[in-house]
């Protein structure tokens, strides 16, 4: 795990510091009016004149102590502050997307497997396939077009297409956790809660769509595999109801392959966050990363890449640790 993070930091560090570009990394400390001598002084002050590997060690030291440098696109604020201010919003979006994925994808996969080659199977296969084929950015705009524009034309209740809460409430809740939903609940501010919930629907469904298809497909195939096995026939011949056979006996084993792809799901989610936040003007870290890319704010990008890589690695690690609980056969060995 440490090795993976080390490798990632090396790659990102090389890309941001070592690779010769039009925008040198010291650019953000320099203004146009500075003389060559002043620029040289600043390069020396921030250590940009050292060999690359020495710069890397200084960077690691600073990063571990929480100093990730200044973020250029956020007007030279501390990168870490900018990140931690925005991160909870992304967490809220991602967690709701995960909840939607599991709440819809799991039953859909099970139904698809148990009603193999019947109508529900075809429907869920179409959903799964389109999850693979529909670009997230396009789906987001389609949702906006339908639910915010055409619903208004047709006189139906609309869903907001941007932001995380109505501007009128923007400051009516004290930030405790930074998660709008949780903060509103803690304060008992129901109108704020409703507003942030309504704002969450479209982005969360958009983000969930791709992972939903993936999950459905995996649940379906592993469920089909398990349902063919002898012990299921045995359970059925004991006279157990189909419900018990599927949910008690088959599902537990069918979920094992699902756990192994958690890392992939997280990776797709964290990549998708960038697009979804951009499309829905959601002020989280994903949209910030995109703006940072366009302004060559490598400090922010480094923090974002390393945090997302750490999340993916942690997810994989947790699954590895939890394997024993999910699959008792592994525990016995």
């Amino acid at each position: 795990m440490i090795l993976v993070l080390f490798g990632i930091s090396l790659i990102v560090f090389y890309l941001s510091r070592g690779y010769p570009t039009k925008f040198p990394p010291w650019g953000q400390y320099v203004t146009l009016s500075m003389s060559q001598a002043e620029i040289a002084y600043i390069k020396q002050l921030h250590g940009f004149n050292l060999p690359l590997y020495e710069q890397y060690f200084y960077w690691v030291r600073d990063a571990i102590s929480g100093n990730w440098g200044l973020s250029k696109w956020a007007g030279n604020q501390q990168t870490l502050t900018v990140f931690t201010n925005r991160f909870p919003l992304t967490v809220e979006l991602a967690v709701s997307a995960i909840i939607i994925t599991v709440a819809i994808g799991l039953p859909l996969g099970i139904v698809s497997a148990t009603k193999n080659n019947k109508l529900p199977d075809h429907v869920s296969r179409i959903i799964a396939l389109s999850g693979y084929a529909i670009p997230v950015f396009w789906l987001g705009f389609l949702f906006q077009l339908i639910f915010s524009y055409y619903f208004k034309l047709w006189g139906l209740p609309t869903l907001p297409s941007s932001g995380y809460v109505d501007q009128t409430f923007a400051n009516s809740v004290h930030l405790v956790t930074g998660l709008p939903l949780l903060d509103a609940l803690l304060e008992g501010n129901l109108s704020y809660l409703a507003s942030s919930l309504v704002h969450l629907i479209l982005p969360a469904f958009t983000l969930a769509f791709a992972t939903l298809g993936y999950l459905t497909r995996i649940v379906r195939s592993s469920m089909l595999e398990v349902l063919k096995q002898d012990y299921i026939t045995m359970a059925r011949s004991k006279g157990l109801s189909e419900r018990v056979v599927i949910y008690r006996h088959a599902l537990r084993n069918a979920l094992i392959p699902v756990a192994t792809v958690t890392g992939v799901l997280f990776a797709s989610l964290l990549g998708g966050v960038v697009v979804v936040e951009f499309v829905f003007s959601w002020p989280g870290v994903g949209s910030a990363a995109l703006q940072a890319t366009f302004q060559n704010d490598t400090n922010f990008l480094m923090l974002y890449t390393i945090v997302s890589a750490a999340i993916i690695v942690l997810a994989n690690l947790t699954v590895d640790v939890l394997y024993g609980f999910i699959d008792p056969r592994i525990r016995l060995r």
Partner: protein
């Protein structure tokens, strides 16, 4: 002796014939696969002959007389949209008065080219590094595996984003950025295939008659393990198009009027409410292309999966 040989050859021929028949039956029994194959052949055909169907210079033409209008009466887009007074624009026109359908046809070759380039490049790297990894001993194997681990821990889009930002947006660097995300999967896949094949009897036989490692690898193992790689490649054509068009959509297009599906969607955003066709149809083109190749990949997997034959 001779007769035996003959019957053996006949059996092989019949075996091949039967597997072909099986493939055809599977193709016809699953209408989705058939639709996918027909669609993807049609898409490749349109892409190959796009310059004959639409003049490539159209991308730079500006005609304000037919700006942002809708050309057929089958769909009513609501009060904000306007109808073309003249011309034959099935899918409407964009801000510069160009037909959206023509722009989509012009955009297809670029997207498909990049998809094929990335997938073929990944297969090449996969065979090379996968082969080295499977044959190179423990240390080499571990090193290559750990490197692929590192790339797996990146969110797919993010690495491409960082590379595109640092190296600067141009078609070759964007292709390289997507390739950088894609190759580790193939290294793992090829390595796994080779390791599985290596244990089989025929490899043992080849070794015993003195065939060299590289000969066994390139003339026997890789041809034998090419099918799963082919399936993955077909499935990935769509995936690459998705990632590439996302990058273009997010603003990494090197040129403003570049005919590329993601870029077409991005350029349609400003007029999305008065001309919704600007984002709907280029996006739909991405969906159909990706879906077609995915369906073919699914079908190929079923055809090549020996468990499904009985």
């Amino acid at each position: 002796m001779i007769r035996e040989k003959e019957s053996g050859a006949k059996r092989v021929r019949r075996g091949k014939f039967e597997s072909l028949r099986f493939a055809l039956r599977l193709l016809t029994s699953n209408p989705l696969v058939l639709v996918g194959s027909v669609l993807s052949i049609a898409i490749i055909g349109v892409a190959l002959f796009s310059s004959l169907l639409v003049k490539p210079s159209l991308a730079n033409v500006v005609s304000y007389s037919s700006q942002l209008c809708w050309g057929n009466h089958l769909i009513d887009w609501g009060p904000g949209s306007s109808i073309c007074s003249s011309g034959n624009y099935w899918l409407g026109t964009d801000y510069f008065g160009r037909g959206v359908l023509s722009m989509i046809i012009l955009a297809l070759p670029l997207d498909l080219e990049i998809a094929f380039a990335v997938v073929l490049g990944s297969i090449g790297i996969g065979i090379l590094l996968g082969g080295i990894s499977a044959y190179g001993g423990l240390v080499v194997d571990e090193t290559i595996l750990r490197i692929t681990d590192i790339f797996f821990a990146f969110p797919t889009l993010l690495l491409a984003l960082v590379v595109a930002a640092v190296v600067g947006p141009s078609i070759p660097t964007l292709t390289f950025a997507v390739l950088l995300v894609w190759w580790p999967l193939y290294v793992r896949l090829v390595r796994g295939q080779i390791l599985a094949e290596k244990e089989k009897n025929y490899v043992e036989c080849l070794k015993s008659v003195g065939a060299s490692d590289s000969r066994i690898l390139f003339t026997h193992i890789i041809p034998n393990s090419i099918y799963p790689i082919l399936v993955q490649a077909t499935l990935d054509i769509g995936g690459v198009i998705l990632i590439f068009s996302s990058l273009m959509f997010l603003g990494f297009s090197p040129k403003q009027n570049l005919p590329e599906l993601g870029n077409l969607v991005a350029e349609g955003i400003q007029n999305v409410f008065t001309a919704p066709w600007l984002i709907i149809f280029p996006g739909l083109a991405i969906v159909i292309t990706t879906l077609a190749f995915n369906l073919v990949g699914d079908g190929l997997r079923d055809i090549l999966d020996p468990r499904l034959r009985h």
